[in-house]
C-alpha cells in the first residue's frame, strides 16, 4: 500500500500533492441512566488527497482505496480549473521533507485492554452517579479513538504516525420539582488508560454540585466583573482569542486581518498566551501535524502584544510568517484545517483571594460548558457560579452564559492567578462541514475580567 500510494502521489500532474491514508478504530460505550444504550466498535479506512496546480487547490475524500488513483487525478484537474480563475495564485511555504515513523508509547495502552474492562469501569462510574436519588439520569460515555496514518507528499515526505485518545465523559442530570440541572465531567483526554481509573471521589463531588445547583438561583443579567476558574478561563482563551490566532480564519477577511497584525497591543502587559503541542500528556499533544509539519510551541501574545499565529503551509506563505505545525483533520473524511493544539494563558502573580477581594458586585464562574465564537464576538457558558458581594464569595447561581467582544475583553483582563490547570476535556468544533476535534487542549490560571455581559433572568 505504502509503495503504491507513494508512486501515485509522486506521479500526479500537480505542482504539489499529498495524500493521507488512515486506518481508524473507535470504541464507544454509552450509558443513559441505567441503560447501556451503545456499545460499538468502528473500523475502517479512508483517504484524503490535496492537489495544488496552476495556483489553484482542490481536495477529495474517498473511502474505497481502489478509488485513490482516479480521485487523485480528478483532483489535480480541478485544482487547475481553480487556478485559472484566481487573481492571486495559492502558494505553500517551504517545509522540510520528513521520512520518519512516529509511534506512541502510552503508560497503559487502551488498545490492549479488553472491552469488558472498559465496560466495567464505565458501569462502575455510572452506578456511583445513580446512587444519588436526585440524579434522574446520566450520560456516561467511554470514547476511544485510535488512528494509524500515513502521509505522503510529492516533495519526498513519507511519514507514518499514530493518534490515540481515550476518555470518560459524561453528564449528570439532577431534578427537583421543575428545576433540572446538568453537570458535565471529563477524565482522560490523552493516550493513557490509567488516567481514567480511581476518579470516584471526583465523581461524587460532581454529583454533589449538580444537587446543589437545584437550590441555586438563576444568574441575573447585566454587565459586571467576573473571576473565571481555570476551566472557564481556558475555554475563554480558546474561544475568544485562540480561534482568531488560526490564520485560515483571517486569510480571506482583510479588515479583520489588519486588526490582528503582529505587533498589535491586544491586552495588558500581564497577559501571555501560547500554543504548544509538544507538552506531553495533554489533549492537544502531538509530534507532527496532518500536513507533515512538526508541531512546535508558538507564542501568540507576549506581554499583551500579539507576536505569533497558527498556520498551515498555505497561510504561512500568504502571511509571510513561520510554520507552526497546526494543520489537523479529525479523520479521513475531512481536509486538514488550522487548529489550536494546547492553548494556555501563562500564570501571573495574583492569588484567588486577591481577585475575589477586588470585586464589590460580580460573579465567580466555574466549569466550562462549551462556547462559540464568530470573529471578535464570543459566548460561553459556566457549569455553575457564585455571586461575589463586597469581596466575598456568596450564594451559588445557575444557568449562566457570558458574552463579549474579544478586544475589549482582553484589555479588561486585569488580574491573572498564580495557579495553573489544564483541562482533561478536549474538544473543539470548527469548519464546514464541522470537525469535532477531541484533541484540543486548554489551560489557564484563575483570571479576573473587569466587565463581561451576563445573560440571565
Amino acid at each position: 500500500m505504502k509503495d503504491r500510494l507513494t508512486s501515485l502521489v509522486t506521479g500526479l500532474p500537480a505542482d504539489y500533492a499529498d495524500l493521507r491514508y488512515e486506518e481508524n478504530r473507535k470504541i464507544r460505550i454509552t450509558y443513559q441512566g441505567r441503560e447501556l444504550t451503545q456499545i460499538s466498535s468502528t473500523t475502517g479506512g479512508g483517504g484524503h488527497v490535496r492537489a495544488y496546480a496552476g495556483g489553484g487547490k482542490a481536495i477529495a475524500s474517498f473511502s474505497d482505496p481502489d478509488a485513490a488513483t482516479s480521485t487523485a487525478r480528478r483532483t489535480c484537474a480541478s485544482a487547475r480549473i481553480v487556478g485559472r480563475m484566481r487573481e492571486c495564485p495559492l502558494r505553500l511555504a517551504d517545509a522540510p521533507a520528513i521520512v520518519e515513523r512516529f509511534s506512541l508509547s502510552p503508560k497503559r495502552d487502551p488498545r490492549s485492554i479488553p472491552l469488558s474492562e472498559k465496560l466495567e469501569l464505565l458501569a462502575h462510574y455510572n452506578r456511583i452517579l445513580l446512587e444519588e436519588p436526585r440524579v434522574i439520569t446520566t450520560q456516561s460515555e467511554y470514547d476511544e479513538f485510535a488512528s494509524s496514518r500515513m502521509f505522503i507528499n510529492s516533495e519526498g515526505t513519507m511519514i507514518e504516525y499514530e493518534l490515540l485518545n481515550v476518555g470518560v465523559y459524561g453528564m449528570i442530570v439532577a431534578k427537583k420539582g421543575d428545576v433540572v440541572q446538568r453537570v458535565r465531567f471529563a477524565y482522560g483526554g490523552n493516550d493513557d488508560f490509567s488516567r481514567l481509573v480511581g476518579r470516584e471521589d471526583e465523581l461524587r463531588d460532581e454529583v454533589a454540585r449538580a444537587c446543589e445547583l437545584l437550590d441555586a438561583k438563576p444568574a441575573r443579567s447585566g454587565i459586571c466583573p467576573v473571576v473565571l476558574d481555570p476551566s472557564e478561563a481556558g475555554v475563554f482563551i480558546h474561544e475568544a482569542f485562540g480561534h482568531l490566532s488560526e490564520a485560515d480564519g483571517l486569510q480571506n477577511n482583510p479588515s479583520f486581518r489588519e486588526r490582528l497584525s503582529v505587533g498589535t497591543t491586544v491586552g495588558r502587559s500581564l497577559l501571555n498566551v501560547a500554543d504548544d503541542p509538544t507538552i506531553p500528556g495533554y489533549p492537544g499533544s502531538y509530534e507532527i501535524d496532518d500536513e507533515g509539519v512538526r508541531g512546535r510551541r508558538t507564542e501568540l501574545i507576549h506581554a499583551g502584544v500579539l507576536v505569533g499565529r497558527l498556520h498551515s503551509r498555505e497561510t504561512a506563505a500568504e502571511f509571510g510568517e513561520p510554520l507552526s505545525g497546526n494543520m489537523r483533520a479529525v479523520d479521513a473524511v475531512f481536509t486538514p484545517i488550522v487548529r489550536m493544539s494546547n492553548i494556555s494563558i501563562e500564570p501571573g502573580t495574583s492569588t484567588f483571594d486577591e481577585m475575589v477581594g477586588s470585586i464589590d458586585n460580580g460573579y465567580y464562574l466555574v466549569g466550562a460548558k462549551g462556547g462559540q465564537t464568530a470573529g471578535d464576538q464570543f459566548t460561553f457558558g459556566a457549569q455553575w457560579g457564585f455571586c461575589i458581594r463586597s469581596g466575598r464569595i456568596g450564594p451559588m447561581v445557575r444557568d449562566i452564559n457570558m458574552s463579549g467582544e474579544l478586544f475589549s475583553t482582553l484589555r479588561n483582563i486585569s488580574m491573572i492567578g498564580d495557579d495553573m490547570e489544564f483541562g482533561e476535556r478536549g474538544g473543539c468544533g470548527k469548519g464546514s462541514p464541522m470537525q469535532l476535534n477531541r484533541k484540543s487542549g486548554k489551560g489557564a490560571p484563575h483570571i479576573k475580567i473587569d466587565a463581561v455581559t451576563i445573560g440571565g433572568v
Binding site: I81, V82, S221, D376
Partner: protein, 438 residues
C-alpha cells in the same frame, strides 16, 4: 450488503443494516475569489444486532463484512437486554426528493452559480469579503432488517449559501437556498442580503430590559431545538422533558403550529423512512400552541408503549453520521405561516430586535427550554432598523416567552442556518424577551 444481513440472520436473533453512500462536489469562494473545489465519495455501514437478547453495534467505513458482524456480536455479548424489535416490513410513502439533473452537476456548473452571485453582489458591495458556497450532493441509503424491513432511497440536493462578515468583525449576514433540483439564486435574495448588510454599517446597542423580538427564520433553531429536546421520546422516558404529561396543554402561543413534514416535495432532507426503517409521515406536534404528541424512535416507542413515529435518525446536536445511534429527531420541522408580511411586523415595533442568529446556544440549559445567547441581528426603533446589534444578549425560556406571540409572518424560509439541517419557518414576533445591552 444483502449477503451480510443473510449471514447475520443465520448467526444472531436479529439484525439491522444501515448503508449510506454520499457523493458531493463543492465549490467555495472566499473574499470574491474561488478558493477551492472539494469532492467526497464516502460509503459507510452500521450493523446493529440482537444476540441472545442483547444489543450490540458495529460501524465501518468501507468495512469488511465479516469483521463488522464479528464486532457487533462481540459488543452484544456485553450489551443490555434488548427492549425493542427491529422494524418489520412496511409500505413506504413516495417522496419527491431526488432529481437526476442535480446528481450530474459538476464543479464547472457550481462555479457558474457562485459567479452569478459574486457578480451581482460585487456591483453593490465591492469592498466586502464575500463568501459563497455551492454544493451538489446525492445521498443513497439502504436499510434492511432480519424482520423484513427493506428500504432504499436516493436523494439529491443543491445548496447555495453566501454572505459576508461585517467589516472588521466576525458576525455578518448570510443567506442560503436549497432544492432537490438545479436552480439559480433569485435576485430578491441578493437584494435582501445587500439591504441587510447595509443595515450593519453602524452598530446599536439596546438598553437592558424586556423588548419585543422579531425572530427571523435563520434563527428559528432557538425555538425548534429546545422544542426538539422537549418532544424527544428519549427525554420523556428518562423524565428530563419539561413536556411530560402535558399533551393537549398549551405550551406555546396559540399563534404557533409546528409539524414535522418528512414528505415535503422538493426538499433534499425529505425521506420515506427513518434510519431504523420505520415509515415517515407528516405529524402535527404543536397545534395552535397545544402539545399534540412526541417524536419516537424504536427504543423510546417501546419504552413508552407507543408506535414509533419514523423519527429515529442518526443525528446529534452537531451533525449526523452512520456511526451515531438512532435517536428521536425532527426530519423536516415546519412552523406554519401566519398572515402578516414580515416587513409590516417590523414597522409595528417602537423598539425591538430583529434576531437572525444567536451565539452560544449549546452552552445553555436548552433541553429545559432555556436559552441565553449573544444576539446576532439588528436594533429596531420607530419601525426602522437603526443598526446591527453589538454586545447584546437575549435570554429566557421558550415555554414562557413564546406563550405570547403577536404575529407570525406570511412568508416562510428554510431555517437551514445554525444547528438544524432542514425545516421551514416564518418570522415570529414575540411579545417580549429579556435583553441585556447597555
Amino acid at each position: 450488503m444483502h449477503a451480510l444481513i443473510e449471514e447475520a440472520r443465520a448467526r444472531v436473533d436479529g439484525a439491522e443494516l444501515h448503508w449510506h453512500r454520499r457523493r458531493s462536489t463543492t465549490v467555495n469562494y472566499q473574499n470574491y475569489q474561488l478558493q477551492g473545489v472539494s469532492e467526497e465519495e464516502l460509503s459507510s455501514v452500521a450493523l446493529r444486532v440482537i444476540d441472545h437478547g442483547r444489543t450490540g453495534t458495529a460501524f465501518g467505513i468501507f468495512p469488511d463484512g465479516a469483521c463488522l458482524l464479528y464486532d457487533a456480536v462481540a459488543a452484544a455479548a456485553h450489551g443490555d437486554p434488548a427492549t425493542f424489535a427491529f422494524a418489520g416490513p412496511a409500505r413506504y410513502p413516495a417522496v419527491e426528493n431526488g432529481d437526476p439533473a442535480t446528481a450530474d452537476l459538476d464543479s464547472a456548473v457550481l462555479v457558474e452559480r457562485c459567479e452569478s452571485i459574486v457578480r451581482r453582489v460585487r456591483n453593490e458591495l465591492p469592498a466586502i469579503a464575500l463568501r459563497a458556497h455551492a454544493e451538489a450532493e446525492t445521498d443513497h441509503r439502504v436499510i434492511e432488517t432480519t424482520s423484513g424491513a427493506a428500504g432504499e432511497n436516493c436523494t439529491s440536493g443543491l445548496s447555495i449559501a453566501f454572505g459576508a462578515p461585517f467589516k472588521g468583525v466576525g458576525v455578518g449576514v448570510y443567506k442560503s437556498a436549497r432544492s432537490t433540483s438545479p436552480f439559480w439564486v433569485d435576485d430578491s435574495l441578493i437584494e435582501e442580503f445587500v439591504e441587510w448588510y447595509r443595515w450593519g454599517d453602524v452598530t446599536s446597542t439596546p438598553s437592558t430590559g424586556r423588548l419585543p423580538i422579531l425572530l427571523a427564520p435563520d434563527a428559528a433553531y432557538l425555538l425548534l431545538l429546545p422544542l426538539l429536546f422537549g418532544l424527544s421520546g428519549n427525554a420523556v422516558r428518562k423524565g428530563t422533558s419539561p413536556l411530560i404529561d402535558r399533551v393537549e396543554e398549551r405550551i406555546l402561543s396559540e399563534a404557533l403550529t409546528i409539524v414535522d413534514n418528512p414528505l415535503r416535495a422538493g426538499d433534499p432532507e425529505s425521506r420515506p423512512f427513518d434510519d431504523e426503517g420505520v415509515p415517515c409521515a407528516r405529524r402535527v406536534l404543536v397545534k395552535n400552541g397545544l402539545l399534540k404528541g412526541f417524536i419516537l424512535d424504536l427504543e423510546s416507542a417501546a419504552a413508552l408503549d407507543q408506535p414509533p413515529t419514523g423519527n429515529g435518525l442518526k443525528r446529534a446536536l452537531f451533525g449526523s453520521g452512520t456511526e451515531l445511534p438512532p435517536t428521536p429527531w425532527f426530519v423536516n420541522p415546519e412552523v406554519e405561516p401566519g398572515a402578516t408580511p414580515w416587513r409590516q411586523m417590523l414597522t409595528t415595533l417602537d423598539e425591538g430586535l430583529l434576531i437572525t442568529g444567536g451565539m452560544g446556544f449549546h452552552s445553555g440549559n436548552y433541553p429545559q427550554g432555556h436559552f441565553a445567547v449573544q444576539a446576532i441581528g439588528f436594533h429596531v426603533r420607530s419601525g426602522r432598523v437603526v443598526g446591527r446589534l453589538d454586545q447584546t444578549m437575549i435570554s429566557g425560556n421558550i415555554y414562557h416567552d413564546l406563550l405570547r406571540v403577536r404575529a407570525v409572518s406570511a412568508e416562510r424560509r428554510p431555517c437551514a442556518a445554525g444547528l438544524l439541517s432542514g425545516g421551514l419557518a416564518p418570522f415570529i414576533l414575540i411579545d417580549s424577551m429579556q435583553v441585556t445591552g447597555r
